[in-house]
């Protein structure tokens, strides 16, 4: 995927219907699977942080005061649908928000437990084979900057989830695949992909 280096962080929304816990299946929607225009669903492993309190207009230097902790997030994406929507200048919503397209876990590591969230190995395996491997030091916008920018727009509330973006190596998943997403000091989430009945 070729995209320009952004000047500001780019935000999009996943709604709460996407959330599933460690061990839960990722449901591959039939309307994607049976449609040649849409039959690609991709994995994207990401470091996510959880908001600890209501906040608005936060300065980057105070960013960590508003973070409860860190976890792993999988931004599952209907890639062909996303590309087709983007090509005609449509929003990114539907391709990102099928039920179960937001696995999260396996635990929240308190912000005290991770001194530097920008030096963590991050990887994703499909059926035991590494597909994404990077380190959070390669993030363009660091967590405090993301929080500063985002909180200019909206009030964040306790429990809100902010996912920080995925490294290279995104690619398709298929029904029956086992996805393991890991971040150093946090752990691993494991999900089986199953075709919607």
């Amino acid at each position: 995927m070729k995209a320009q280096v952004p000047k500001n962080p780019i935000f999009f929304v996943k709604t709460v219907n996407t959330l599933v816990a460690d061990g839960d299946p990722i449901i591959y929607p039939k309307i994607l699977y049976n449609n040649q225009d849409y039959n690609q669903v991709d994995h994207e492993v990401e470091l996510a942080f959880i908001i600890s309190q209501n906040c608005k207009n936060i300065q980057a230097e105070h960013g960590y005061e508003y973070i409860e902790g860190y976890t792993i997030f999988l931004d599952i994406t209907a890639r062909k649908m996303q590309i087709s929507d983007r090509n005609i200048n449509l929003p990114w919503y539907r391709s990102k928000n099928f039920d179960s397209f937001g696995p999260i876990g396996p635990r929240i590591v308190n912000f005290n437990g991770i001194e530097d969230p920008h030096n963590l190995n991050i990887q994703l395996k499909i059926n035991g084979e590494i597909r994404q491997q990077s380190n959070t030091k390669h993030m363009i916008f660091k967590i405090p900057e993301i929080l500063e920018y985002l909180s200019k727009f909206i009030t964040l509330s306790p429990g809100d989830i902010v996912a920080t973006g995925t490294p290279s190596g995104v690619g398709p998943i298929q029904p029956e695949d086992i996805i393991e997403a890991s971040i150093e000091k946090i752990g691993t989430i494991t999900h089986k992909v199953i075709l919607e009945e």
């Binding site: 929304v13 219907n17 449509l90 919503y93 509330s157």
Partner: protein
């Protein structure tokens, strides 16, 4: 949140883009083959008579200093539902209300041409006034024959009828519920007719839909 006498606990707001032919013509966008969905986050919700806050961050930048009103008919989901056929749609609707999809227009236009998501321009705090009440489906048997208008400082800026909706409510519910599970209280805004335009701090916005009522909000500058 409370809308009139009812309390709802929405988990999401889904808006439909370009769903009135007259609005499609004024925006120059293509006629969609499927409903165009985008989200607004819950931080944007405010009630009847609450102020719409004009963000300083937008006001002070020439490239972003336009914030628009968009009056819309919204429906509220009654129960948890997925894969609803359109002929059963009304069984899953609690009722109807008025929604104002306030939009940072220059920011949205810029993001659209860059093929970026529409999130930031749509979801500033207070950019989702809703109310003044929820009218249930027994009272409004046909939601596709309601006059809809919006006044800015007493002057009519938008005036249409919900019969001009391109995708009707049952089709919208069927389509959305093929993608995701809806929950009780979820808000679906069905799109705006033509006449969208900018608001300024100090303006009074009155958004009215026949049989529902008028949602009144004034615009105030952030920090004042």
């Amino acid at each position: 949140m409370k809308i009139g006498t009812e309390t709802i606990n929405p988990t999401k707001i889904i808006c439909i883009g370009t769903n009135y032919m007259d609005h499609i013509e004024e925006t120059g966008l293509d006629v969609p083959r499927e409903p165009v969905l985008f989200p607004k986050t819950l931080n944007c919700l405010i009630s009847n008579n609450d102020p719409i806050i004009y963000p300083k961050f937008l006001y002070n930048q020439r490239k972003y200093n336009r914030v628009d009103y968009e009056v819309e008919l919204a429906f509220i989901v009654k129960d948890k539902c997925k894969h609803i056929p359109k002929n059963e749609a009304y069984n899953h609707i609690l009722g109807y209300t008025v929604f104002n999809d306030v939009t940072a227009r220059k920011m949205q236009a810029k993001d659209i041409v860059s093929k970026l998501p529409w999130f930031r321009s749509k979801s500033f705090d207070t950019f989702g006034p809703i109310g003044p009440r929820i009218v249930d489906t027994d009272e409004i048997k046909d939601p596709h024959n309601l006059n809809i208008n919006l006044k800015l400082n007493g002057e009519i800026k938008q005036s249409s009828n919900t019969k001009h909706l391109l995708f009707k409510i049952p089709e919208l519910l069927e389509y959305i519920s093929t993608i995701l599970t809806l929950e009780p209280g979820d808000i679906i805004a069905t799109g705006t007719p033509s006449g969208i335009g900018p608001m300024q701090p100090g303006d009074l916005i009155e958004a009215t839909i026949e049989k529902i009522g008028t949602l009144v909000n004034n615009v105030v500058m952030e920090g004042e």
